[in-house]
Amino acid sequence: MKTYVKFGAMVAVIIGLLAWLAMGGISDSKTYYKTIAELGQMGDHAKGKRLRVGGDVQAGSIVRAGSEVSFVLHQDAKTLKVVYNGIDPLPDTFKDGAQALADGKLGPDGVFQANKIQAKCASKYEAKPQLKKDASRASM
């Protein structure tokens, strides 16, 4: 039985170590999903938290200045100004009208400081059925 006790102890140590690492990893990288409307209501709660906001990129709003890119996300009637100055290049799918997710923090001036932008992979993103039909044209 001694072998099993030893074995069990080693297993416990490994699991404990990994659980500890996992806890640290979660608190380091957790990001709250918020809609633009919820973001407006958060007030002071938004301070210091990593947030992820989704929306459509407003057509014509993308402005590049140096390595900084700013644009406007909109969802329903709400809009949010976003400034991105991360290291990774913006994905090629990021363009006017694309669905985008911005990760970052809300600045005191109400501008969202993003350090990561994701845009929906357009090929695999299927249009909603009625859009698909709008896109098709009658030929007969």
Partner: protein, 671 residues
């Protein structure tokens, strides 16, 4: 035409249901005719699904745009190869591919076992066909690939074709999805054999022997699929990464992890008769994770860059998974007494325990990845707030796990079964440990000590490589002294004598190379510059000068190209030409990165855009040390896996410790 396709799917569905009922009833009533007719239904399903797939491919290639699927995934300007790949470009088509692959596998299984395992085969067929029925319900009734675009009353509308995203028009993307699918679908077969053996209460491990090659081939397909995805992301997406812990990537990784654990732990059952329950659990977990992966990709339950839009398909998968997992769990619990272990763990320092630790940490990694992937769903259910975790979470837990596995890769194969003495440990590991220490001290002095994980990783890579090389060296030298052949023929002869063992070493060597490549990421350098033509900038040892900015246009896209003269320390390294394209039909911009691949490091240049005043080019330059070793490692791994499949020249009888009274009752079938 479309009607024939839809009819074929409908018939295939009926046949699948018949095959399930026919084989089970035939078995219970001992009616061999019914069983054979069920097997014939399996062949018929393959024919029907081949017809359906053929019709879909024909419609895609001839541009039958009145079909919704064709219109949504191709356009007239695409080349035939990409039209063909649209077969799996969308939801309906990829489900058809799943179904077709499963029918192909099923037909092979039924044919190759037509005279074997008469006891268990009806249940194997039933499990395969139950899975098939599920997918056929989806494509025959809910998400038909043969839907016609209809507007108004009976008017047939012709679509224009929305084309394929140019980002995906790249060679690895042509074979990446089918490779992954071959892997995903393939695990249905060992799972079916496992269940068949449980139902018929087989005491031994016939199901493991008979599916060993199957599991290895499927595992290779999965590995290839994952690696192709990494290669594509690296060469196409413009940020030089190959893994982002995206939910869909994780979905492909999860069954790979459990499959890897399974490949190792079956050795415990084959050689020691241990871990029988565990193997059942692992193969079931792999199968359900494959289904789960398909579910995650298709349902949009977790937001991902790859995911499809929200679709009701998720519900079907949840129901199938719930029923399947419950049934499997019940079956395993009910048959526990047939899965009793034949041996006990004797020492913590033994091959057995190294296998157990290998499994433990692989499973821990699988659990962590699953937990992290589903964290938004879990947190929303628990606290009402949707919270996601990111790459730092996954890295923090998986880097130590990876290093632990690497260590076991070196230790496991050399440590003795049952128990190991200090003396034998010293003999096996003295020189490899010295080699690892030398590497670590050398690199530490050179400055790598700032990255402790990287330092440890290089040390472990050296350790494992040394143990593997020593194994080949010892074996080959023994053959040379006996027969006097050259070293290379001796290595070939050695490998041929025991392909499983030495093929396995090759796979481990591939893993070592891949770890070297992954570790290189700790030393990545990057810079983003806006530069006027004629200007230059530096990154690491490279000087990059903008020679020219060219523009042009063809039928398909508008392009801008930078000509960059790259030099290092005054010597010219040639010209690199990153390019940006704007595809006309989809209005999709893409960047074609320029990569200078070398064994020590890649220089990676991305033309990110032009500044607003149109004067300066924005360039992102990266140096990725050692990244090529990932791809080299993959090739070594693939060759090693293939070697494992070659029958060994010398049939080794396993030194299997039989515990008295638990001797195998069944006769091994048709060797």
């Amino acid at each position: 035409m479309e009607n024939i396709g839809a009819l074929a799917l409908l018939l295939a569905f009926c046949f699948a249901v018949y095959a399930v009922i026919g084989s089970v009833v035939g078995k219970l009533r001992k009616n061999p005719f019914l069983i054979v007719s069920a097997e014939r239904a399996v062949y018929s399903i393959w024919i029907l699904l081949s017809i359906a797939s053929g019709i879909l491919i024909y419609a895609l290639i001839t541009g039958n745009f009145k079909m919704g699927y064709v219109a949504a995934h191709t356009d007239a300007s695409m080349s035939n190869i990409y039209k063909f790949t649209a077969w799996w470009g969308g939801q309906e088509g990829s489900l058809l591919l799943w179904s077709w692959l499963l029918s192909t596998y099923s037909a092979i299984v039924v044919f190759t076992n037509r005279r074997k395992f008469r006891d268990m085969m009806p249940y194997v067929t039933a499990v395969l066909m139950t899975t098939q029925t599920f997918f056929l319900i989806l494509i025959a009734f809910v998400f038909s690939p043969f839907e016609i675009l209809v507007a108004g009353r009976g008017n047939i509308v012709e679509g224009m074709g929305r084309g394929l995203n140019p980002l995906l028009q790249y060679w690895t993307m042509v074979i990446h999805p089918p490779m992954l699918y071959l892997g995903y679908v393939g695990f249905t077969v060992p799972f079916a054999f496992a269940i068949g053996s449980l139902i018929t209460k087989q005491p031994g491990d016939a199901w493991i022997h008979t599916t060993r090659r199957w599991t290895i081939v499927t595992w290779l397909f999965q590995s290839t699929g994952i690696l192709l995805g990494q290669g594509w992301a690296y060469a196409v997406l413009g940020w030089g990464g190959y893994w982002a812990w995206d939910p869909v990537e994780n979905a492909s990784l999860l069954p790979w992890i459990t499959a890897t654990a399974f490949l190792h732990s079956v050795m415990m059952q084959e050689k020691k008769g241990m871990m029988k329950v565990w193997n059942m659990v692992l193969i079931s977990a792999t199968f359900f994770l494959c289904i789960f992966g398909t579910f995650l990709t298709r349902s949009g339950v977790v937001s991902s860059v790859h995911a499809f839009a929200q679709s009701p398909i998720g519900t079907y998968f949840v129901v199938f998974l719930a029923i399947g997992i419950a049934a499997t769990a019940y079956l395993i619990l009910d048959r526990l007494s047939y899965l009793r272990s034949e041996a006990r763990l004797e020492s913590v320092v033994s091959r057995e325990s190294s296998f157990m630790f290998n499994n433990l940490i692989l499973l821990a990694s699988c659990f962590a990845v699953l937990w992290g992937t589903l964290f938004p769903v879990i947190s929303e259910a628990v606290s009402g707030e949707k919270i996601s975790v990111d790459a730092p979470f996954f890295n923090r837990i998986n880097i130590p796990i990876g290093l632990g596995l690497l260590f076991l890769t070196g230790v496991g194969p050399l440590i003795a079964w049952r128990r190991s003495s200090m003396e034998s440990l010293r003999r096996a590991f003295f020189w490899p440990s010295i080699a690892a220490l030398v590497v670590m001290v050398g690199l530490g002095v050179a400055g790598v000590y700032e990255h402790p994980y990287a330092l440890l990783s290089f040390g472990l890579c050296m350790f494992v490589a040394a143990t593997i090389l020593a194994e080949f060296w010892k074996g080959a030298t023994a053959i040379r002294t006996k027969s006097g052949v050259g070293f290379i023929p001796a290595v070939v002869e050695l490998t041929h004598r025991n392909t499983r063992r030495y093929g396995g070493y090759l796979v481990h060597m591939g893993i070592v190379f891949m770890f070297i490549g992954y570790t290189g990421a700790a030393f990545n350098k990057d810079v983003t510059k806006e530069v006027v033509p004629g200007g230059s900038f530096e990154l690491g040892r490279y000087t990059i000068k903008i020679a020219d900015l060219q523009k042009g246009e063809n039928d398909n896209y508008i392009w801008q190209k930078l000509l960059l003269d790259v030099s290092s320390g005054g010597t010219s390294l040639g010209t690199m030409e990153p390019e940006r394209r704007m595809y006309k039909s989809s209005q999709q911009p893409t960047s074609e990165v320029a990569i200078r691949r070398r064994l020590n490091e890649d220089l990676y240049l991305n033309f990110a855009g032009v500044s607003n005043d149109n004067q300066r080019a924005v360039i992102q330059a990266y140096v990725f040390p050692l990244v090529t070793w990932i791809w080299i490692g993959f090739w070594v791994l693939a060759v090693g896996t293939l070697v494992c499949l070659v029958p060994s020249k010398v049939r080794l009888s396993y030194a299997r410790t039989q515990v008295i009274g638990v001797a195998e009752r069944h006769a091994p079938v048709a060797k």
